[in-house]
Amino acid sequence: MIPQLIVSGLLVGGIYALVAIGLNLVFGVLRIINFAHGEYLMVAMYGSYWLWRLTIDPYVAALLILPMMAVLGAVTERYLIRYTLASQAHVKIFVTLGLSIALQNAALLLFGGDYLSVRTPYQTMTFTLASLSISVPRLIANVVMAVSAIGLYFFLQHTDFGKAIRATAQDSTTARLMGINIGRVYMATFAIGTAFVGLAGCVLIPVYYVYPTVGTDFVLIAFVVVVLGGLGSLLGAVVGGFLIGVVEQFSGFFIDTSLRQIVYFGVFIAILVLRPAGLFGKRGAEEIGLK
């Protein structure tokens, strides 16, 4: 039973990681908590749901959703987030919260509160490997996560623009002095972050429902993952996602499914208090308050 729990946990965790990567990137570079991050997941899931209704397979729909989400992210940064970056702390926190409330209710208004899901021939498909049952769409989600995370890693490490993003994350003033257009960096980072969460929406829709507040459920987990893995750490987001997935499966099995949320909020509080830098993050981030 325990190996199966671990495998199921890892499979769920990969999806959490995909949601958390975008959140972490935006957190690390723009130094804001994007409370609306989950709502981008919701938007992408509704997008692929409606494309499925037009007989487009969710995985094919990803090719359409991804650029749309990137544009949506870029527009949000350019016309909303940018005006908050130089503002007081409460403006930064509450503008994305306002955006989150507005998007959630817009979805409620447009699509109603029903739980919607797609039907595909492969969504319940599983195969057995060494007596472990593995869900095919969840495995696909993990492959997508791994490929895109590795892609992002090489982009950040080895391209000029990736280096510009990392430089801005380290010290935006110095980066600007070195001739980096940090406005463009912010816009691109936000676009990449929303594209990642859009991707998460596309691989999630075959295995999960979409409803107006679906983002809240996932973004709370993503916050836990980001803090656990460490701010600004890509590796941290991936490892953190897997860890939370496994913890969730174990607590669901050994304690009670309904109590698993308490368990991961407990983990969250413990990490925030004991090691706010997370597993792979920089120490002291909680003290500078990410100004």
């Binding site: 306002g98 507005a102 107006p212 969250f268 500078i288």
Partner: protein, 300 residues
Amino acid sequence: MSVPQLFDLLILTLVWAGMAAAWNLLAGFAGQFSLGHAAFIGIGAYAAVIPAMRYQLSPWVGMLGGVVVAGLLAFFIASISLRMRGPFFTLLTIAFSEVVRLIALYAKPLTNGAEGIIVELQPGIMNLYFLEKWPFVVLAGLYASGMYLLCASIRRSRMGHRLLALRDDEDAARSLGVEVYRARVLITLISAALTSVGGAVLAMYTQYIDPDSTLSFLLSVELSLITIVGGLGNAAGPIVGAFLIVPLERLLRSWFGGVLFGLHGLIFGILLIVILLAAPNGVLLAIGNWRSRWISRRHA
């Protein structure tokens, strides 16, 4: 609008004004943005109701118990988050209030879970239970005005100056001899305890509590919305904010609630963004600024 409806609106507005004032003590004066104050509203509500319904204890006693429990929880949260600033503190408070909500949801023998508790007691001042609305108008009015006076006097006191100093520059405040940690723990405790009083009044007025209506994250958001609209860090801000937001919310709900589900939430989200961008220090200061600009233009 009939008199009971007017009273209803007035009671809700006043209670929210008082609770937002308590939130403002921590957010506006100390610069710590809690999005977990729903936990304290809920603690106040359950503390007033459970002992009254189960052990025939006066809700006044329960309210006092709620103040103690909320204060203890706040003391704990504040002491483990002394070095946290900005978003980290916000995330921590969200986590705590979610834990409290989940406990209320699953501790069925005590809280009756998602079904909630209907409050039914012998009417009278001892039981804080009235069949008419006017006693609650008095009670809510006392709570809101008490909160306003307290905030205004804290703002002018040494404590207020210390808090504002640590909010604006913690290191400078510390170097000038402000005991930053003590001030922060104290104000978190006061803010939480006073929020729970509002939660108790709200519960006794609505005569029904469940985790959704007393502990939801949206209640924390509501407190911040009211305060930010009125004016963060301004003693009169939450009062003004409540008189704008609560009736507006009621109005939007009655216009669109039945037909266009979600429209009032959409309007509120957009309103929050617009206020933050156009008048980040609230309408009170914004009006003051426009007025002084207008006056100076007239005299120019």
